[in-house]
């Protein structure tokens, strides 16, 4: 088993670098002296994240302020990231929105915006990154999806759809480039205490972003294809997926 483990990545591209889960992943890497290329929308927040990683020991940090919905500028940004980092060892996609489910049920523009941010912008980034990694025959493409993508529920099915579509897209990319030595990791977090879930009552199922970050790094080291974080969610989702539709459609989830 030990031979299958890989070293922690040291040249790291993070898309959505102000995400709390992404920070849980980035901090231990910074402690080990990683180099970062960080992309986020807010310059103030990006600066706070960069100082944090620098203080923890990051050897170099490059930042780029960008709204990732703007797919037209992806290529130039990614090329710059590859150049600044020399080689990308890990690309972590962490941007995303929960969106307003109730509004999306009646307003297509709202639904489209959720799909654009969570799915279409990811397709654009992954397309470039998959080709880049395939050409360099190495690297990890880690994408934060969600357990919500495993089954549609009335409380968040538009968000769930964007993540479910992302999961299928990643299955295909993995199938295509696995033989070139590239690791494609689909991350499916359950409830995590982040700004995205701050409005929900925090039950015992909520995990801290630092703990979730450690589970993700473990999944990277072990070259897992799909990682439920924390792992208990693999069991929970197995149960949820196996409920027959005849019963599921009557449930209040």
């Amino acid at each position: 088993m030990a031979s299958k483990r890989q070293q922690l990545p040291s040249r790291v591209l993070v898309l959505g670098a102000t995400s709390a889960i992404a920070n849980g992943v980035m901090r231990p890497l910074a402690e080990q002296g990683a180099r970062f290329y960080l992309v986020a929308r807010s310059p103030e927040k990006l600066k706070a994240v960069a100082s944090d990683l620098e203080t923890r020991g990051a050897s170099a940090i490059f930042t780029c302020v960008m709204d990732l919905d703007d797919t037209a500028s992806h290529e130039a940004m990614l090329a710059e990231a590859a150049e600044k980092l020399d080689t990308i060892d890990l690309a972590l996609l962490a941007h995303g929105v929960l969106g307003d489910q109730e509004r999306a049920q009646t307003d297509y523009a709202t639904a489209e915006a959720i799909l654009r941010t969570n799915f279409l912008s990811a397709v654009s980034l992954i397309t470039w990154l998959a080709n880049y990694f395939e050409a360099t025959h190495q690297g990890t493409l880690a994408v934060i999806s969600s357990v919500a993508g495993d089954r549609g529920r009335k409380s968040n099915y538009v968000y769930g759809t964007s993540k479910g579509a992302l999961n299928i897209f990643l299955d295909g990319v993995r199938n295509r480039i696995d033989r070139s030595g590239v690791h494609v990791l689909t991350i499916k977090p359950g409830f995590v205490s982040t700004p995205m879930t701050a409005h929900l009552p925090q039950t015992g199922l909520f995990a801290h972003p630092a703990a979730v970050g450690r589970w993700i790094l473990k999944a990277i080291e072990k070259r897992k294809d799909v990682a439920y974080v924390p792992p208990i969610w693999a069991v929970i989702m197995l149960i949820i997926r196996s409920i027959p539709n005849s019963i599921f459609k009557k449930l209040n989830l």
Binding site: V49, S51, D52, H199, P201, N252
Partner: protein, 446 residues
């Protein structure tokens, strides 16, 4: 159950580490220092809360809005030459230790738990086992940024906006939100502590040993609150110094033990606490014992069990901590308190006694002053525990001492105002949008 009955977002009840009282409030999490002041100010009063590890109601506000500042958890800068660390206020002391120990630095002052935030440590101007040498936490804070509810932001230090500095250190979170702070860490070369435990019987012997050992960086004593007769006020005086022999500096491991359930109320009673105290006292066989121990069990014996407060059952515990100034010849105040406890039939599970030094605290309302401090905790058994704590408060007042707001849920307004006559001056610095359950009680408006 009717469908779509979703009272999902009703205000939950919040409790501090002592689990008493439990008060309803709204929660607004802060993740960035720029999140405050809030764009939509709440209709209620607000109070910042860190890790919620204080015991009583200084971090609670009934029918108010709690600003959860734990999300402000970023480091901003560290200078390995000077040991000066700047970080956001929601960073915990545990996170600082994980960061600093492998780099050869340690906290300048630490309480008995590492799970408190920097903001909370400043707001309560906490103290530790090295108070006789290092003073309070606030003595090592170089500067911080205070954000008021009207949007005003200013940097405070002992020389810049010094009145705000003095009001905010020990100001119980009432003067505004602490966004970030700069503190000076102390260098170490080893994780381990040279420990020495000395048994004593009686307050006089404790005072004599304390005075003879002020050269030790850390001193504190554990006392048996149940023993009577010849064993009255027996205990173990513990002292420690950072090991001067260089050793590899590693990070701490995650705690793996957690108390998953509330123990039933009868689990802690006079008998079980008496038994625990006797076992603890006799664990050390000889009068003196020395050892080289890791800093974790030395400073944080209870942190290795997450949620140890569940040991006290759902109704929680009452903490009581006071400091009494020195008295001629004998420490009657402490003796009277110990007698009041044994007479009450209640027992304190963990009784801690320490001599405070004379380093002045920078805070207007800081708790420590030269003398002896006694910390006790009692499982809440309705009126019995409340009566006992009221008696202890009266003894504190009679002996010219004062009580510690961070460990209080019962102090009367009269007592608070006599313990802290400077409270009226402090009140001028309270943010008009801020309030706390403690502050309402001790200023007797609510």
């Amino acid at each position: 159950m009717p469908r779509n009955s979703q009272p999902k977002f009703q205000s939950p009840k919040f409790e501090s580490w002592g689990r008493y009282p439990k008060l309803e409030a709204d929660l607004v999490p802060l993740s960035w220092t720029t999140d405050f002041p809030l764009t939509q100010p709440p209709a209620t009063k607000i109070l910042p809360v860190g890790a919620g590890r204080s015991y009583g109601d200084v971090c609670l506000l009934g029918h108010g809005t709690l600003l959860q500042a734990r999300g402000l958890d970023r480091f901003q800068h560290f200078d390995p030459q000077t040991g000066i660390l700047r970080c956001e206020a929601g960073v915990t002391l545990a996170e600082i230790l994980d960061f600093a120990v492998p780099r050869g630095f340690f906290l300048p002052v630490t309480p008995g738990t590492k799970y408190v935030t920097v903001g909370g440590a400043i707001a309560n101007d906490i103290h530790g086992k090295n108070h006789h040498i290092a003073g309070t936490f606030g003595c090592h804070v170089l500067r911080f940024e205070l954000v008021r509810s009207d949007g005003a932001r200013f940097e405070c230090s002992p020389s810049e906006n010094s009145d705000w500095f003095s009001a905010t250190v020990g100001g119980m979170g009432l003067t505004g939100l602490i966004a970030w702070a700069e503190i000076r860490l102390r260098p170490i070369v080893s994780r381990r502590i040279q420990y020495k435990g000395t048994k004593f019987v009686g307050i006089d012997e404790f005072v004599a040993i304390s005075k003879a050992n002020t050269h030790s960086e850390y001193t504190v004593a554990w006392m048996d609150s149940v023993a009577t007769g010849n064993n009255f006020a027996r205990g173990i005086f513990m002292q420690g110094d950072h090991n001067p022999q260089p050793e590899p500096l590693t990070r701490s491991k995650e705690p793996w033990l957690t108390l998953p359930l509330d123990l039933p109320e009868f689990a802690l009673n006079h008998l079980s606490i008496g038994l625990f105290n006797t076992l603890y006292y006799n664990k050390q066989f000889s009068k003196e014992k020395t050892a080289l121990v890791d800093y974790e069990p030395f400073f944080y014996p209870l942190d290795s069990i997450l949620h140890w407060n569940r040991m006290y059952g759902k109704s929680g515990l009452l903490q009581f901590q006071c400091v009494l100034p020195w008295e001629e010849n004998q420490q009657f105040g402490i003796i009277n308190m110990m007698k009041a406890i044994t007479a009450s039939g209640l027992a304190s599970f963990l009784t801690v006694i320490k001599v405070f030094g004379d380093a002045p605290s920078p805070g207007m309302l800081s708790f420590p002053m030269p003398g002896i401090t006694l910390a006790l905790d009692f499982p809440i058994r309705a009126e019995l525990s409340f009566d006992l704590v009221d008696r202890l408060a009266r003894i504190t007042q009679e002996h010219g001492g004062r009580m510690y707001p961070a460990k209080d849920a019962r102090m009367t307004a009269d007592r608070f105002q006599s313990f802290y006559p400077q409270w009226q001056e402090f009140a001028r610095y309270v943010d008009p949008a801020f309030d706390s359950a403690f502050w309402q009680r001790v200023t007797a408006r609510g």
